[in-house]
């Protein structure tokens, strides 16, 4: 998932979300569509969505900023979400997360210098019976240990 294309035009954004205008409560589906296409919610999208839905730009911004999923700038080529919640903690998840960040030399929400991986915290992936768990893009991995995590990072090019 590389998002290096130039900033989308208003027209492109409008075309992208137009099929969703008939939904009841269309804003979240629209924001997901924008982020799926561009890797983030570009500034230009705020005004386009505001106009389409008859909202203020600030209102749309307020919604975008409320949710953990939406980003203002694209992430690295891959997003690694490491679970920090209780079941994973009970199985050594905190140490695994620390070791991973150490190896990458970054903190939470940061991206590796080569742009390969952004690491995000997540609170539960529903893998609590086979903890600790993480998710690389859309793929969930569980019963993780340092070795499996390292293989995952290698695979992601970190």
């Amino acid at each position: 998932m590389t998002f290096s294309s130039p900033a989308p035009s208003d027209e492109e954004i409008r075309t992208l979300v137009a099929p969703l205008t008939g939904l009841e409560g269309p804003l979240l589906p629209m924001l997901h569509a924008v982020q799926d296409a561009y890797g983030c919610i570009p500034d230009a999208a705020l005004q386009v969505l505001a106009d389409l839905l008859n909202l203020g730009r600030a209102e749309v911004h307020g919604v975008v900023s409320f949710y953990h999923d939406f980003r203002k700038v694209p992430a690295g080529r891959h997003i690694l979400r490491i679970c920090r919640a209780e079941a994973c903690q009970s199985m050594g998840g905190a140490a695994l997360a620390d070791a991973t960040l150490d190896r990458l030399g970054i903190g939470w929400h940061d991206t590796t210098a080569n742009g390969a991986v952004t690491v995000e915290p997540v609170y539960c992936l529903g893998m609590c019976a086979c903890a600790p768990a993480a998710m690389l893009d859309d793929r969930v991995v569980a019963r993780l240990d340092d070795a499996r995590m390292n293989r995952l990072l290698d695979e992601a090019g970190a």
């Binding site: 953990h68 209780e86 997540v122 609590c128 086979c130 019963r143």
Partner: protein
């Protein structure tokens, strides 16, 4: 030869796809004709990937299977677990809501109907709304999403409300650590949820439904979307449900990574495209919910329990359970557990039976120190509380809650002060920001626990005070219930808060 390899995301997360590929490859190289079917999970997560080979006697299980085992599996030299249905874990359950999960292919609607699916809907479709709501009331079903509110009463309120449009909203936000029943059901038997929502719709007079599904569950989103499409193509959803003249259609909506959106009013705001801020009640969502219209908001398991109540009868369901907790509870055994997974049984087992007997103690083999029941807002229970029966009131009496029935086990290496600190930190990260005790209190809570850790004994009283303020002054249970894990850790495991203090002195 038919071989089952689960496609549940927990099974996939521990290698089920690789196992399926290896079996196909080995079969091809041996020239054996193998049909690989992808089921949901049986819930024995410690055995995943759990592969089943269909024989004349039944389905024989193998697990956990690694890709390297594929050859031996096909040659018949791999050690088997025996018939899956005969395993102790399976035999001891009363599987009603999860009867088909792990057994059938999730998107096989005919297979669903062949195993009892749609029978409940057919019965309900011939009943009056009053009779439908009465049946749910008689079953004793209480909301499985956490609060345990009687489902029949909620439905009755919506049924009696007058409005041009009513809605069924399924809460599939499942943000609690230790819970995965909603995910398992949606990935493993999605038509059960759809059927439950349709019955709810017919019962209360709602023609539209939404499943608000968290973005952390991409597999569940994919399966539910596919199931809805199939249901529409096959006339289960649409202008005349199964040609009964009842109208009902539904959509899957993806959340955006906010724990508080599991709270029903916050969820409704989110579904409307707003910030997921909690709404003050009243008005109840039952009267003024999605877009201001009367709305049933129910958890996945609550709705998915409805079809079997109509298929097998309210009496059968109500006949299971304990005191005022009727029917089955879908226990989710998680964390440091030897046998982690989903176990469905009538309410009333004791916590200790679940932890020691069913879960088999810890995965590490060390003593159990604490069990957090009910997610991040649930109390840490101590081994001396293990005779508490699984039931809403019984847990309440113990200063805890059953919540969504997730149990997270910790061994004796757990640091309960750190867990208390985490509870506060989690509340601070996930607070919707509407009220001060939660928004500010949680931040102060983290600081106060750090002061205790640094040896400030007076901070204990401060923490207790802060918890009282959060409990009494918060608008919703995020701020209001965070004191449960914090205070249960402080009161139940004082040594963990004292050792550093003493060491510092």
């Amino acid at each position: 030869m038919k071989i089952w390899v689960p496609m549940d995301s927990a099974a996939r997360a521990v290698g089920a796809d690789e196992v399926a590929t290896a079996i196909a490859r080995e079969a091809a190289s041996r020239g054996i004709d193998v049909q690989i079917a992808r089921n949901g999970t049986r819930g024995m997560i410690w055995l995943e990937p759990l592969v089943e080979v269909e024989t004349d006697e039944g389905r024989v299980g193998f697990g956990p299977v690694a890709p390297e085992d594929a050859g031996a599996l096909l040659d018949g030299t791999l050690d088997s677990l025996g018939l899956v249905e005969d395993l102790d874990w399976m035999r001891r359950q009363t599987r009603l809501t999860f009867a088909r999960c792990g057994v059938t292919e999730p998107l096989d609607l005919d297979g669903y109907a062949a195993r009892g699916g749609l029978a409940g809907l057919r019965r309900a479709a011939a009943m009056t709304p009053d009779a439908i709501v009465q049946q749910v009331t008689d079953s004793g079903l209480r909301g499985r999403g956490g609060a345990g509110f009687p489902t029949g009463i909620k439905w009755k309120t919506v049924m009696q409300a007058r409005a041009a449009q009513k809605y069924i909203v399924c809460n599939a936000d499942e943000g609690d650590s230790g819970t995965f029943a909603d995910r398992m059901l949606m990935e493993g038997d999605p038509f059960t949820l759809i059927e439950g929502m349709i019955i709810a719709g017919i019962g209360v007079g709602a023609t539209r439904g939404y499943v608000y599904l968290r973005s952390e569950y991409p597999d569940a989103i994919r399966v539910m979307n596919a199931a809805v499409q199939i249901a529409r193509e096959r006339g289960l959803l649409g202008p005349s449900v199964l040609d009964t003249g009842h109208q009902f259609d539904m959509e899957i909506r993806k959340g955006a990574g906010a724990y508080v959106c599991g709270e029903e009013t916050s969820l409704l705001n989110s579904l409307e495209g707003k910030r997921g801020v909690v709404r003050a009640k009243p008005p109840l969502p039952a009267l003024s919910g999605f877009l201001g219209q009367p709305t049933v908001v129910n958890n996945v398991i609550s709705l998915a329990s409805v079809p079997v109540i109509f298929e097998r009868g309210a009496d059968l369901y109500a006949g299971l359970g304990h005191n005022r907790s009727r029917g089955t509870v879908t226990l989710q055994i998680a964390g440091n557990a030897r046998r982690g997974g989903l176990f469905e049984a009538g309410f009333g087992l004791s916590l200790g039976e679940v932890v020691n007997d069913i879960a088999g103690g810890t995965a590490s083999g060390r003593p159990v120190k604490a069990v957090q029941v009910g997610g991040p807002l649930g109390a840490y229970m101590r081994p001396d509380q293990f005779d508490t029966p699984m039931g809403y009131e019984e847990f309440d009496e113990q200063g805890g809650l059953i919540g969504h029935a997730g149990l997270v086990l910790f061994d004796d290496t757990a640091d309960m002060m750190q867990m208390a600190r985490f509870a506060m930190e989690f509340c601070a990260v996930e607070s919707c920001g509407k009220c001060t005790p939660c928004r500010i209190g949680a931040v102060r809570g983290v600081e106060t626990i750090d002061r205790i850790a640094a040896g400030d004994a007076r901070a204990v009283a401060l923490l207790t005070d802060l918890c009282d303020t959060m409990r009494d002054g918060s608008l919703c249970a995020l701020g209001g219930f965070t004191p449960y894990p914090v205070m249960s850790a402080l009161r139940g495991f004082p040594d963990d808060f004292a050792t550093r203090k003493e060491a510092a002195e």
